[in-house]
């Protein structure tokens, strides 16, 4: 028997009594769970918590930058604020965001398995995340760190008198959380696909997470050893990054960015996977050039390892290194662009509807394109010399990370919310929130491109008077953006009790996850599926629906 797509009557759907949320009760059943879905929810709550702390810090940054003087806080404090904002947002929010929540939840279901390969390691991963997050908070509360999230030497090793060691160790621990998630995904995707689920029948969300997982496993350990060396340098004074002892501060940057550049692809690739799913569902069309998108994901991962020194063009690397890394950076942009083109061609002649996930996906496509293009400007060494360490960089990475990744995350959360909770969120309110977020985002970050080009440096609490107008716009935008992010918090929680019952397949999407109940059973499937359906087979679905049946097969 083959897989059968079902389109149950949404009007009569009821939340099934037995599901992964109701299967077991009690705090311990959550804290000691091996169920990937429960772990995903635990992660979702945790990263949301850290997101709001990071967001509050962003609010403080923007408040300080309302005026040219460093009047809201001393420069030292400002350094701590933007450092903690970066550390929390990068390591405790963006890196785990899609993989640890949506990836954990969906990947086993999408490949047709009952769980990830190593459920206990999955749980361990969450606990490591909590320990790392807790240590970061402890460092923050007991005085903070002021080196920037990049921990650049010799500031971090010699001149800073803040909690570098605690934060460094915290990120070391959090890094292992990331490694274990990636390891779990790679093994699951290779070894636990259901019969008939070939690589090219996998949803592109799986491909993207697979590529990101490769980066997690191969890149994060280099960050780990780098942090160990910084801690040793700071505590014992071993001299490996200390110029007075013969060490090279640039070596730190080589090792740090060897991870941190692939890290940005760890952050964005899963988001791109979400976009593939959402765009195909809401244009009722298979993703254009599936193979190209799948291979592009892996290409981004592989090439992502070759370009790290484009963060170091002005730091003292050799001119030849600058040349080579600049060239390679141009290459790495190509697969990302291929994906954007493919999504655009997916939309072309599709039956497009504008549900909330799709609104966020549109936002992603526009904003990520701008962010990505500005990345190409920065990859060109000549322009980078002018633009680096200015607000242009800040705008660039916020466009890709917030306009891109965060929008993709919200898109995914809204897309799979009915599956995870069995409930729908209020559509009109969520569409409003998406629009508010888009407007707020552009108002916040577009002026930063301008102000960066005009020469405003980053990481400074005080700036020349002529930049104030644009900074005021930016802060105003940040307020609107904050509202845009608060709204989903409120209505998503509200929907848990009062939202409309979703049923199995509210979007009438293809994909294994939509063939099972919402919320799913603990074991996902009552029997392991045998996959014969092509992925994103919307044409087949349309043909079936023409006969006005709700039960097809």
């Amino acid at each position: 028997m083959s897989t059968i797509l079902t389109l149950p009557d949404q009007a009569t759907a009821r939340v099934p009594k037995r599901n992964y949320l109701t299967n077991e009760n009690g705090l311990l059943s959550w804290l000691l769970t091996g169920d990937h879905k429960r772990i995903a929810i635990l992660y979702l709550i945790s990263i949301t918590f850290f997101f709001f702390i990071g967001g509050a810090l962003a609010g403080l940054i923007r408040m300080e930058l309302l005026t040219p003087q460093s009047d809201l806080m001393a420069s030292d404090t400002y350094n701590k604020i933007f450092t903690m904002h970066g550390v929390i947002m990068v390591f405790l929010f963006l890196v785990p965001s899609v993989p640890a929540t949506l990836g954990n939840f969906m990947i086993p279901i999408m490949v047709g398995a009952k769980d990830l390969a190593f459920p206990k390691i999955n749980l361990l991963s969450w606990y490591l995340y909590l320990v790392g997050g807790g240590m970061t908070l402890a460092a923050m509360i007991s005085g903070g760190v002021d080196t920037g999230w990049t921990f650049t030497t010799p500031m971090s090793t010699h001149f800073s008198n803040t909690n570098v060691v605690t934060t460094g160790l915290a990120i070391f621990v959090a890094g292992f959380s990331s490694i274990f998630t990636g390891l779990n995904f790679i093994v699951t995707i290779h070894k636990m696909r259901a019969p008939g689920m070939t690589w090219f029948k996998l949803p592109l969300f799986v491909w993207s997470n697979y590529a990101a997982s490769i980066l997690m496993v191969l890149g994060t350990p280099v960050l780990a050893i780098t942090l160990v060396l910084v801690v040793l340098e700071r505590t014992i004074g071993i001299g490996v990054f200390d110029a007075t002892k013969g060490g090279d501060p640039i070596l730190f940057q080589h090792l740090f960015w060897f991870y941190s550049h692939p890290a940005v692809y760890i952050m964005i690739l899963p988001g791109m996977g979400v976009i593939s799913e959402v765009i195909s569902t809401f244009s009722r069309k298979r993703v254009f050039g599936y193979t190209a998108v799948a291979f592009s994901s892996v290409a981004i991962a592989v090439f992502g390892f070759f370009v790290w020194a484009h963060h170091m063009f002005i730091m003292g690397v050799s001119n030849y290194a600058v040349l080579v890394f600049s060239l390679l950076t141009m290459l790495v942009a190509v697969p990302s662009a291929i994906k954007i083109f493919n999504w655009a061609f997916t939309l072309y002649k599709g039956s497009i509807t504008f549900e909330t996930p799709m609104l966020y996906a549109f936002g992603f496509m526009g904003l990520f394109t701008i962010g990505g293009l500005t990345g190409v400007f920065l990859g060109s060494a000549g322009t980078d010399i002018h633009l680096t360490e200015t607000y242009f960089i800040v705008a660039h990475f916020h466009f890709v990370m917030v306009g891109g990744m965060l929008m993709a995350f919200l898109s995914g959360v809204h897309f799979w919310w009915p599956k995870m909770t069995g409930r729908m969120y209020p559509e009109k309110l969520s569409q409003l929130a998406a629009v508010v977020t888009f407007i707020g985002f552009n108002l916040t970050f577009f002026p930063q491109f301008l102000v960066g080009m005009l020469g405003m440096p980053r990481r400074y609490a005080a700036y020349p008077q002529e930049f104030q107008v644009l900074n005021v716009f930016s802060t105003a935008g940040a307020t609107i953006l904050g509202v845009g992010y608060l709204l989903p918090m409120i209505y998503l929680v509200w929907s848990l009790k009062y939202g409309e019952v979703a049923g199995n397949n509210p979007w009438q999407a293809t994909g294994l996850e939509w063939q099972i109940q919402s919320p799913p059973l603990t074991e996902n499937f009552t029997t392991i599926p045998i996959v014969t359906q092509d992925v994103y087979d919307y044409e087949w679905l349309e043909r079936q629906k023409e006969h006005e049946v709700t039960h097809v097969g």
Partner: protein, 112 residues
């Protein structure tokens, strides 16, 4: 419709590693080779070979490591996936070392 899905079923594949048991004879030979390699590398370090000293030392070390990976860790008898996995790790390691060293070496070449 319930045809044979062995070709598609990733779980039905046969894997030689699970059935191929490497015996003591093979292990003993490799052990001997490793001891020999160690002796050679110690001896070679006492010879004056100029720039070739580190090359020889690394070559011997790589050979020994390869023997351990292939035989003690059973990669020779493992699936293509395992071989590819080891290769990916070695490749990424070489990128880290190679491209970082390239920067340091090329600094000495001056401006252009």
């Amino acid at each position: 419709m319930s045809e044979h899905f062995e070709n598609h079923d990733p779980n039905c594949g046969h894997d030689e590693a699970e059935h191929h048991i490497v015996g003591p004879a093979t292990y003993a030979i490799i052990f001997g080779a490793l001891l020999l390699g160690t002796a050679i590398t110690i001896g070679a370090s006492y010879l004056e070979m100029g720039p070739w000293n580190p090359v020889v030392a690394l070559a011997i070390a790589v050979t020994k490591a390869t023997l351990v990976v292939l035989f003690f860790m059973h990669i020779k008898y493992s699936s293509r996936l395992m071989k590819l996995t080891v290769g990916a790790g070695v490749f990424t390691f070489l990128i880290l070392v190679g491209m970082s060293l390239a920067d340091y070496f090329s600094r000495a070449w001056g401006q252009w």
